[in-house]
Amino acid sequence: MSPEKTEQVLGRKLISLFDSHRNHISRYDPPFLQGIRNQAMESFRKAGFPTTAMETWRNTNLERVLEKDYNIIFDPPEAPVDLENVFRCEVPDFNTHIISLYNGWYISRDTPLLTLPNGTIIGSLAQALREIPELAEKHFNKYAGAMGNGLISLNTAFAQDGVFIYVPDGVEAYKTIQMVNILNRDDDVMVQNRNLVILGRNSRLRLVHCDDSHNQQPSFTNTVTEVFLDEGATIDHYKLQNLNNSSTLVNSSFFYLEKESRLSTHLITLNGGLIRNESFVRLSGPEAHADVFGIYLMDKNQHVDNQVFMDHSAPVTTSNQLFKGILDDQASGVFNGHILVRKDAQRISAYQSNRNILLTDKAVVHAKPFLEIYADDVKCSHGATVGRLDENALFYIRSRGIGEYNARLLLMYAFAAEVIRRISITPLRNRIDDLVKKRLRGELAICDQCVLHCSQEEKRYSFDIDMSKI
């Protein structure tokens, strides 16, 4: 008999934990959820963890991650967590509504489910499932469930909390909502939170979502977010990732777009051990539009994997993907961009571009565009490039008296700026701009420098190089 693979050990442990804690996990579940959980666990039993034998996982190997014996936190923090001690927002002029997940559990200063005067509901998913199950039921697992892989099923089975946001028809959420995921534990934990965002007709939301480590402890976060955009709704979504080098994050986001709705999502990966972002976008009504942008700056042995599945299932839908990355040392990157244009989805425009700079011979990137088109009136383009910094440009810059180090920074920053300048919230753009510069200079600390979560007062960062006008 061959020895049992390590991931099977963790998988078996999770299955047995689920069986022994099933009642505890689902103790507050509305009736509709219990069947979903059991079904999801069945799917996980069959599928297990993704392996490199699967096409979309070929270049992201979870074996090392799954070797660890993670603890699962089945209960919310016992003592109330003082948000003030955990983070203070120092982004100048960035007036936001802050919500936080602490080791996967929603923490709040006041009520776990807040209803604003305009009808917007913000709070804990667990609480929303209890208080307003009808609203949650309409959308919960409707988008993620259909696309399930083992990890998504596992999340569905285990997730007990997360963030819930509902914006009613015609309402424009007046403040940007900042969602901060904080991991702060002394043991190795696996966190599986679940977020549900529902946007009513012609509503509008700006959502900034940060993943942040507090220490150097290994962790495995398996998070699933479902976002539903009703007709004419708009979401401007940012996912910022600044995790420690021992962390693993699999972030699966599902966006379901009704007609004339608009999605803009930005995946900004500054640091992390292994990060995989899966963005599933379904354009299911005419004139829906999706922008999916990403920037990743990795070094050491870090690994980043961006997967986009852009599903044009209705006619006259448009999409645009732009991912740019800089990989240093032995870092590795993956980009798989899949565009599907379904039969009868005519008059489609879908663009995709992935550009990479490798700073060393040992850095690698696997880029794979994949177009699957069953309609004939379609404008599609894709492109992937992998290159070095332009030697002629470096020489030109240096010949004006700018040292090689700064010349390289200038070129790297200019490369990244194409994505950064698409961030439409100005204070956020400035802050990310600063963080990217710091990251490129190797000065970004993990524990205290998350975009929205800085433990000390910080000055606006400036280069010797003034890049403010780039």
Binding site: A393, D466, K469
Partner: protein, 249 residues
């Protein structure tokens, strides 16, 4: 200021410069002429420190220092400027921040405080005025989408901002119409002082109608085969390089 003695340079094992010597003193304008492929651009590249070229023997002294030990940026900070034959496009880097960085690096090297944004903008306006360039190249990315003429004017503008001691202009006249040529020549003349020197590398005598050289050198097959005053350029224009080749043999 610049003293080159018996310089031998190769690239990828192929010898390009085969014993070139040149003396340039403060206040002088030198023109280096010659047919294509004789080593004119190689000479410019070696002086500014391009690393693809290998100096096999000979020396380049600049203000009494051996240039060989200095990096590209150190040479620039010491006052050497190259006007590129093919200026490089750098998407995403604005002219303003590029130049401000360069100017402040030069200031730092000389122990001066960096210019503030306002001071820098004032300096840009003053230098534009000085060389009579009125088009607005500064709000764009470095050379990106510039026409041939704009690129060359931009080189002169950068020269005006950095005020080098030794400017080497590599075929700055190529591809220019007569108006653009005048703008470029005018810039060079305006920037000329008793303390600096200019080396103009050119194919044609045409530019030398506007920039009057003190010396004209003919570079042929990796060496300077003839030097003279400005009248040499006219003679070349009239008789062609063949005449010198015949004299050589």
């Amino acid at each position: 200021m610049l003293s080159i003695k018996n310089l031998h340079v190769s690239i990828a094992g192929k010898e390009i410069l085969k014993g070139l010597s040149l003396e340039v003193r403060e206040g002088e304008v030198h023109a280096i002429m010659g047919p294509n492929g004789t080593g004119k651009s190689t000479l410019a590249s070696v002086i500014v420190g391009r690393e693809d070229f290998h100096v096999d023997s000979g020396e380049i002294m600049y203000k009494g220092r051996d240039l060989m030990g200095l990096s590209v940026e150190e040479r620039a900070l010491e006052g050497i400027f190259l006007g590129f034959q093919y200026p490089v496009e750098i998407p995403g880097v604005s002219m303003t921040s590029f130049l401000r960085t360069a100017v402040n690096e030069h200031r730092k090297y000389r122990g001066l405080d960096p210019l503030t944004g306002a001071e820098f903008l004032a300096l840009m306006e003053e230098r534009k005025e000085l060389i009579e360039i009125h088009s607005d190249l500064t709000n764009r990315s470095v050379n990106e989408g510039f026409s041939g003429g704009e690129k060359k004017r931009n080189e002169i503008f950068q020269m005006a901002m950095l005020q080098p001691a030794l400017a080497i202009l590599d075929e700055t006249d190529s591809g220019l119409d007569i108006d653009a040529l005048k703008v470029v020549a005018n810039g060079v003349n305006r920037l000329r002082t008793p303390g600096n020197a200019t080396v103009v590398i050119t194919h044609y005598q045409r530019l030398l109608e506007y920039i009057i050289p003190d010396f004209v050198h003919v570079l042929y097959d990796g060496r300077i085969i003839k030097s003279g005053g400005k009248e040499l350029a006219l003679e070349l224009e009239e008789k062609g390089y063949e005449w010198l080749k015949l004299q050589e043999s």
